[in-house]
């Protein structure tokens, strides 16, 4: 019995940590259902009122649409260019490779607030106004390192003789890439795209500097709304964001298996 005691204690500690991790999600989701005019937990009464109220706040809907557009654009472009660059990194030798590898990996090390400031200054100099494109360009920088980590990991173990077999059967280099290579590294590419989407969708720091009054992403909208008001609208918007991300995470889990994504990430 006494040998079991540490084990119970150990499991109890883990449980506390899991509660700590989950508590914020549960609190937001539940308190978005309150009937009161103020945020309270546990919610008093149950209603979807704060979700329907959202429809009367067109600015939130606009921001949501903008965030989706930006996140989609970022995911598509970052994944496309990141995959191409990964191919060059893994398979080709060229001058200045280490320098380029470091350059492309460095956004992970640069505080995003500094990058945001730098980008804002640069945009104002070249006269690029706040726009989905301006946001996408900034987010590409933030997400390409993630995409490349995942795609490089799936390319490193790639058996080149599979491509040789296709060449041998008469497929030209383009066909080999689209019909053989890409389908085989698919899981790394999809994982990269989803990570890029989520990172872009959640980004507050860089977007905060780039947005203008009519181009506002959802996280920035919530942040500025919170500066002035503090009502359950915040919780319903946050809940939608959480549910959206959870769905994406479950897709990763279903399609690829979380172990796969996580092992290549590390």
């Amino acid at each position: 019995m006494s040998r079991k005691l540490p084990k119970y204690f150990f499991n109890f500690v883990c449980l506390l940590v899991y509660i700590f991790l989950l508590a914020p999600i549960v609190v937001v989701l539940l308190s978005s259902l309150t009937t009161t005019e103020y945020i309270v937990f546990p919610p008093e009464g149950l209603t979807l009122r704060w979700y329907t109220e959202l429809i009367e706040h067109p600015e939130f809907m606009q921001s949501f649409t903008l965030s989706i557009i930006v996140a989609l654009g970022t995911a598509i472009i970052a994944t496309a260019i990141g995959t191409l660059a990964s191919l060059a990194f893994v398979r080709r030798q060229f001058k200045g490779k280490t320098a380029i590898v470091q350059l492309v990996g460095s956004p992970l090390l640069i505080p995003s607030v500094v990058f945001g400031v730098a980008l804002l200054q640069f945009y104002s100099w070249i006269g690029l106004a706040a726009s989905p494109l301006a946001l996408i360009l900034g987010h590409i920088i933030l997400t390409v390192p993630f995409v490349m980590r995942l795609v490089v990991a799936s390319l490193v173990g790639f058996d080149r003789s599979i491509e040789q077999a296709a060449l041998n059967l008469g497929a030209g280099p383009m066909k080999v890439f689209f019909q053989i290579t890409l389908p085989i590294i698919k899981s790394g590419v999809i994982a990269g795209a989803i990570f890029a989407f989520i990172t872009s969708f959640d980004d507050l720091t860089v977007a905060l500097f780039i947005v203008s009054t009519d181009v506002v992403t959802l996280p920035v909208r919530i942040y500025t709304y919170m500066q002035y008001q503090y009502d359950p609208i915040i919780t319903s918007v946050s809940s939608i964001m959480i549910l959206f991300t959870v769905v994406l995470m479950l897709i990763i889990e279903r399609v690829l298996g979380v172990g796969k994504v996580f092992s290549s990430k590390n």
Binding site: D159, S161, I162, Q164, A165, A166, L167, N168, L169, G170, A171, G172, P173, K175, Q179, I180, P183, I184, K186
Partner: protein, 355 residues
Amino acid sequence: MSYLSLENVVKTFNKTEVVKKLSLDIQKGELVSFLGPSGCGKTTTLNMIAGFLEVDGGKIEVDGKPVHLLPPYKREMGMVFQNYALFPHMTVFDNVAYGLKLRKVPKTEISKRVLEALEMVRLDGYEKRYPKELSGGQQQRVSLARALVIKPKVLLLDEPLSNLDAKLRQEMREEIVEIQKQVGITTIFVTHDQEEALAISDRIAVMYEGRIEQVDDPASIYNHPKTDFVSQFIGEVNHIQGKVLETYENKKCKMHFFGNEQIVSVPSVKNSEVHFFIRPEKIQIALAESDESFQTRVERKMFLGAKTRYILKVQDRHLIADISNTVINPTEIKEGNSVYTYWNPEDLLPSRMAR
């Protein structure tokens, strides 16, 4: 007129020539093995034929047309890889059909030809499986069907059996020969396994350090090796030396081995030392002395099933003799016994070692 010809083909990696002016002519329908130790350039040569590596000199022709400047996808060659290299995301059917789809063969014909090819490699019924659901031998059969279904001009096999276990390896190699003869396709088979090469080839090209040492049919390679490397690489040999006592006409001479004299057909100079190889199974032993024999002591004996291996000591040398158990009953000879050893002078393989 040869069908596939290599002419002075050269390949250089980092300034080292790994294939040195290699020339070889292969007839239509012939199965030629490239045999040699790792690093001898056999796989490099195969990759140049397939087009995965550029040649650095010389030329390669198929059916009278140069192909060495073409990219691999225009060479019409079928290749089977050591690690199968099946497309993991396609079913067996789609793997085999891939080459045909690229050639825009009509759908009905594709499915007919794929099914025929799968039947040929005895995998009918496996169309819907994925490569990972197959055993190694089955995967290699799919790979063979995939290469053959496009009716390539040349079939290239890159150590196709080396990832299989011993028993399967033997089965597969018989199957490959059977299919090759049935289809009548010109084939190059790369291997480091001499037994495999001897068993299946019409001709063997023994390679060493980027050169072809000898190209011949298996029996000639084994019985009449032209270089020391071939003698030592193919089969086992005893290395012996003798002194030339007298020289005669017709390149014959009288030689002295272990206190015994023999007339041997080898060009030589009087009083010189001449080196020979002799295969263990060509050495004979007897319990009684004869004119040709010399006395040896049995140091060890090993029972090997149909034959017995005797390690014989004479003077300060060891000789290995493999004797069929139907010729001499191994129970008659004990370790430590003296036996009389002899050989047929024609079985001596002259060595260039001392020349």
